[in-house]
């Protein structure tokens, strides 16, 4: 039995894959805690409220307990979350910690990787993160909560959500000293930020070389710990990022009218319906408008966009509509999340996860001109990217006359001539390397052509 690549930090147990099913082994050192949790109301309540991934006990022996958690379709990582996604994950963690504390348990770690998005909401996925509470002890995972959640969120308020990408290079959270130094001086006037970040950074620096740590006993009452949790919760709840959207209110600024928009929707729906997919991904799907148009035909739908605000908007609408099939997240196709951590496999790359997800249909609407003209990606290389995870691909090609394309070309100024290759013929030639053309149709009222491609079995000529 081999442990999952990401499951080695906690001696309580580990995750493994048993014939395609994700299971969790619990080691004897965690038996007492696990049994106490099973007999308490903690698991029951958190499962019922949809805050903790439900599990069933598969087997019990003297040396191991095996549990099988409810499977989730696709895992996303903190550096792929929009502001609102990050915020909700942080609030969930605090909520669970405060509740656990009231029932004589604690979260022994507060890693952002303990949370993922499942059926439209954040959910806690590390069943073994709970431990017994010892009266009067401070929260051991407090610093981890600051470096994984509170710090990145406060930094994003001042510097934008690009700061979340720092989690890619700091797998155990952004160091407190770095959080403190990156924050504007005025944040020192905030009692919450001063105590939870600046002072924390100072104290950590002061005691980092104190090797007699274990002998020092610090007490913190349950009420005092609850107060910290509640204050952090209230503070995070009010946080908003200060950044302009890349697209703004994109669909009110589109370069085609309502009739053309409706024509595109009708065409898309009919093509997707014919493919009869179970899973779909819309890359560069903005706020999920077109994703929602095909949602009824699929069981699960991923919509990614480069713009955190668009993803936020998608999340809000999806949660309002209780659209449990929809999973939005942030992705820049020109630099998808890499594999990070030990062996670069602890958190897998997006390309790897997409290949495993293997969506039945991939949508790439109004995306290719950005890849080609902003990213300078040759058509064949774009095709190769889509072919790495897609079977059926519905891709929209905006012609040179399209105002977005014209604008992107104009920005090339004296190098504009280098992009003469941007035309239908070259696009088709590039994609023909990996895909068979099923059909193509001009979207009426626009300068755009919609293509349905099917990946060739052997991938390439």
């Amino acid at each position: 039995m081999t442990a999952h690549e990401a499951s080695f930090r906690d001696p309580s147990g580990f995750v493994f894959i048993d014939q395609g099913i994700v299971r969790r082994q619990i080691n004897p050192i965690y038996f007492n805690t696990f049994n106490a949790l099973e007999n308490s109301t903690v698991f029951k309540t958190l499962h019922k409220k949809g805050l903790l991934i439900p599990h069933t006990v598969t087997s019990r022996t003297a040396t191991e307990i095996i549990i099988t958690p409810e499977p989730f379709t696709f895992i996303t990582y903190p550096y792929e979350w929009s502001f609102e996604m990050y915020k909700q994950a942080a609030l969930l963690t605090l909520k669970i910690q405060k509740y656990a504390l009231s029932k004589d348990f604690i979260l022994k770690d507060a890693s952002a990787y303990n949370v993922t998005y499942h059926e439209g909401k954040p959910i806690f996925i590390d069943t073994l993160s709970f431990d017994s509470y010892v009266e009067g002890t401070p929260w051991r995972a407090y610093k981890q909560f600051i470096t994984h959640f509170f710090g990145p969120l406060v930094l994003a308020k001042y510097h934008g959500t690009a700061i979340f990408k720092m989690m890619q290079s700091h797998i155990d959270g952004i160091p407190v000293s770095l959080i403190s130094s990156l924050l504007p001086t005025k944040t020192k006037l905030s009692p919450v930020l001063q105590s939870n970040i600046h002072l924390l950074a100072k104290m950590e620096a002061k005691h980092s070389t104190d090797y007699k740590v274990e002998t020092v006993v610090r007490t913190l009452s349950r009420k005092q710990q609850s107060n910290i949790l509640e204050t952090l919760y209230n503070y995070i709840n009010k946080l908003n990022p200060q950044e302009e959207s890349e697209w703004g209110d994109y669909y009110t600024k589109t370069n085609y009218d309502k009739a053309a928009f409706d024509a595109k929707t009708v065409l898309l729906r009919s093509w997707v319906k014919d493919i009869a997919p179970k899973t779909a991904i819309d890359i560069g799907g903005n706020d999920g408008t077109f994703g929602r148009a095909i949602m009824e035909y699929v069981d699960h739908l991923i919509v990614t966009d480069i713009d955190s605000n668009a993803v936020d908007q998608n999340l809000r609408v999806s949660q309002q509509q209780d659209a449990t099939k929809m999973l939005p997240f942030v992705c820049d196709v020109l630099q998808p999340a890499p594999g990070i951590g030990l062996n670069n496999t602890e958190r897998t790359s997006l390309v790897h996860r997409l290949a495993a997800y293997a969506p039945d249909v991939t949508l790439a609407l109004a995306l290719i001109h950005h890849m080609t003209l902003s990213g300078n990606v040759p058509f064949e290389r774009s095709a190769q990217f889509f072919a790495s995870f897609s079977s059926d691909l519905i891709i929209e090609f905006p012609k040179r006359e399209d105002s977005w394309v014209t604008s992107l070309l104009d920005r090339k100024r004296e190098f504009k001539d280098h992009f003469d290759f941007y035309n239908l013929a070259n696009f088709e030639k590039g994609f023909a390397v990996y895909f068979d053309l099923i059909k193509k149709q001009e979207v009426s009222g626009t300068s755009r052509v919609l293509y349905h491609y099917k990946k060739r079995d052997n991938g390439q000529h």
């Binding site: 001696p11 022994k108 407090y142 610093k143 009692p191 105590s195 610090r218 919760y233």
Partner: protein, 67 residues
Amino acid sequence: MTSFLLYFDAGLGALIVQGIAAVVAGVVLFSKTAMFKIKLFLGLIKESDLQDSIDIDEDEEEDRKLD
């Protein structure tokens, strides 16, 4: 103590600072509650304006009815 389960360094500074953070939190929460009561008294807000709370509502009774 179940120290074998504490598989990462909690940080001594982080344990000490919680005492201070707790005092700050106490003051922040007290003033928030006080402000809420004043605004409520002046009719500036209603009871229903209470924002999203950290507390998990167990409401067993209601759940049983729904089952």
